[in-house]
């Protein structure tokens, strides 16, 4: 795993402790994807409080935290699914705070929702085609890449997506998102409700995708396993940055382990 130079161990209390609070952002050299000091929520009350999430190209960034910590909300805020009252979102340095989710798709973001993330009464292939709806060029190459990544989908490409198993549906969902050839892939709890074996398999695929240079941002309930594959991890509590460090250091911190990873 690559060491992140951007984030320094602010507390300086030895290698075993993870950095507390939000990441330090260098304004002259911002990370590829950045949700900076985001504040907002669905109703009148704020869920996110000055929450900052950053992700780099070719890396897997994972957001973890207890229930109700605002993990999914943070991701949705980055994708433009809720209005921010403060803060901004940038991609490659470009401010996209005012864009709708659809417009962000055109900017290279792809989002895999936690549930209802496929078109159940359409075939696997049609699901992928719909993923590429905005593209006017030949999509056969991208589709072949997705099939290489998920060979089982090629096998079942004429089957209805709704008839597949849970793990296969997640593959369809990820594959659909990849069809736009995004630079950022965002996954909301991709392993919710799948078996441990399927989860490992899915994480392997996600690592593979990251290696091709995509920015991966993922919210995970299975924090320990997710941090194992994460380059960077964010621990959120009540909509605030609690810890921010590499996956390995978060896993090594006894305090983080005890409070958030179940010992």
């Amino acid at each position: 795993m690559s060491e992140d130079t951007l984030i320094e161990n602010g507390t300086g209390e030895g290698a075993m402790r993870a950095r507390e609070g939000a990441p330090l952002i260098d304004p002259d050299n911002p990370p590829f994807l950045l949700g900076d000091s985001m504040r907002g929520g669905y109703g009148a009350a704020d869920i996110l409080h000055e929450c900052t999430i950053a992700a780099e190209k070719g890396q897997i960034t994972v957001i973890v935290g207890p229930n109700g910590a605002g993990k999914s909300t943070a991701m949705k805020a980055i994708f433009g699914m809720l209005d921010l009252r403060a803060g901004k979102v940038t991609i490659g340095g470009k401010d996209i705070t005012g864009l709708s989710p659809q417009e962000r798709v055109a900017e290279g973001m792809a989002f895999v929702p936690q549930t209802n993330n496929i078109f159940p009464s359409m075939t696997v292939e049609e699901n992928l085609e719909m993923g590429a709806f905005l593209r006017r060029d030949d999509i056969a190459g991208t589709m072949e890449e997705v099939y290489e990544l998920f060979p089982v989908l090629k096998e079942k490409r004429h089957q209805l997506a709704g008839e597949l198993s849970g793990g296969q549906r997640q593959q369809v969902a990820v594959g659909r998102a990849l069809m736009t050839r995004p630079t950022v892939l965002m996954l909301d709890e991709p392993t919710a409700g799948v078996s441990p074996i399927v989860m490992d398999e899915l994480f392997d695929r996600i690592i593979e995708i990251a290696r091709t240079g995509l920015t991966i941002l993922m919210v995970e309930q299975n924090a320990r396993q997710a941090l194992e594959i994460a380059d960077m991890g964010y621990v959120l509590v009540q909509g605030r940055n609690r810890y921010t460090d590499t996956g390995a250091r978060l896993l090594a911190d006894p305090e983080v382990r005890r409070s958030f990873l179940g010992g």
Binding site: Q102, V105, N117, I118, F119, M122, E126, F133
Partner: protein, 336 residues
């Protein structure tokens, strides 16, 4: 010979009429089910949309007659049909702009859409009666029969004749062509697939960059086309009367629900199921059994299960049975 006669009798009075009627219902139900799948409400104005399209077609037909244009052996109305479809498409798009779009924007409950469609129904009903009046209109011309009963008897030597009206044959042929075209569109074209995607999972369709307003516009245009074709075919086959078209709502809804609301294949199956049940249950089988049974067993009564006045009860009974035992419809629609 008697068995053949019995079969021909049945074909003449049950199978052929039910095929034609079923095709008309199927086209109507397809329109309802598409609207339901995309816009997610039961459009109570659909019957009157059919009436409107038919009315425009009739007016253009009359105009053609006055100019001496005809389609030879085929009904002139077929030439006027594209005008009817175009006018109806404009009409439904206008109602969508003026009425439904607002409720989409505020994300109103489905039942509000239904009530709005009641308002549209009133208006269309008023327009149609205002323009063409509430009375029966017959606008079929051209060759009346493809095969007359007499020709059939001479040809086969049977005692029973099988008459096939041109309009019946046309109905079935046009319905098949329309259904093939519709399914090709939905399953093979990018736009058609985006409609299915939208119907399947609206949020994900948005994430994929599918433009909902475009989908809605196309859906309305297709529904207008289906409604007009269904209405004109029904009117050619029987006759045009605004109130009858309003009453068609029940069998059409029954067809769509039986097949599973939102499921196009189901709508077609539902249409034929309702039509065959309706015709079969209200047919008097006396003569049919007279052919099959020995003379002393010949039935006394009409052997009619239900008087034709109750044909609506058949749709209703089917509807109730489906709601009781399989509310998602035979083909698994979207709604519970």
């Amino acid at each position: 010979m008697d068995i053949l006669n019995a079969f021909v009798l049945l074909a003449n009075f049950v199978i052929v009429p039910a095929l034609a009627y079923g095709s008309q219902l199927a086209l109507g139900a397809l329109g309802v089910t598409l609207i339901y799948g995309i816009l997610r409400f039961s459009n109570f104005a659909h019957g009157d949309t059919m009436a409107f399209g038919t009315m425009v077609t009739i007016l253009v037909t009359w105009w053609f007659w006055s100019m001496g244009i005809s389609a030879g052996p085929l009904p002139t109305a077929l030439l006027a049909l594209p005008f009817g479809i175009a006018a109806t498409a404009l009409l439904v798009l206008a109602t969508d702009r003026a009425v439904y779009r607002f409720y989409r924007r505020v994300k109103a409950k489905p039942v509000i859409f239904v009530i709005a469609s009641l308002g549209v129904m009133f208006i269309l009903n008023g327009i149609v009666r205002f323009v063409i009046g509430p009375d029966d209109r017959n606008f079929a011309d051209g060759e009346r029969f493809l095969v007359t009963a007499r020709e059939f008897r001479q040809m086969t030597g049977l005692r029973e004749g099988l008459a096939i009206k041109t309009t019946q044959a046309l109905t079935v042929v046009i319905a098949i062509l329309v259904v093939i075209a519709l399914f090709w569109f939905l399953n093979r074209t990018r736009t058609g697939k985006s409609m299915r995607a939208y119907s399947d999972n609206e949020d994900l369709a948005l994430l994929s960059g599918i433009d909902p307003e475009r989908v809605v516009v196309i859906t309305w245009v297709i529904a207008a086309g289906l409604a007009t074709i269904a209405g004109v075919l029904y009117g050619l086959d029987k006759s045009f009367k605004p109130f009858t078209y309003f009453q068609l709502l029940l069998p059409i809804f029954a067809s769509a629900i039986v097949g599973g609301l939102g499921n196009p294949l189901g709508a077609i199956a539902g249409g034929y199921l309702v039509a065959f049940s309706e015709v079969a249950v209200t047919y008097a089988y006396k003569k049919f059994f007279a052919y099959l049974l020995p003379e002393r067993l010949e039935p006394e009564g009409l052997m009619q299960l239900l008087s034709t006045d109750y044909k609506f009860a058949v749709s209703f009974a089917i509807l109730i049975l489906v709601l009781l035992f399989r509310p998602t419809g035979l083909f698994r629609g979207k709604a519970v």
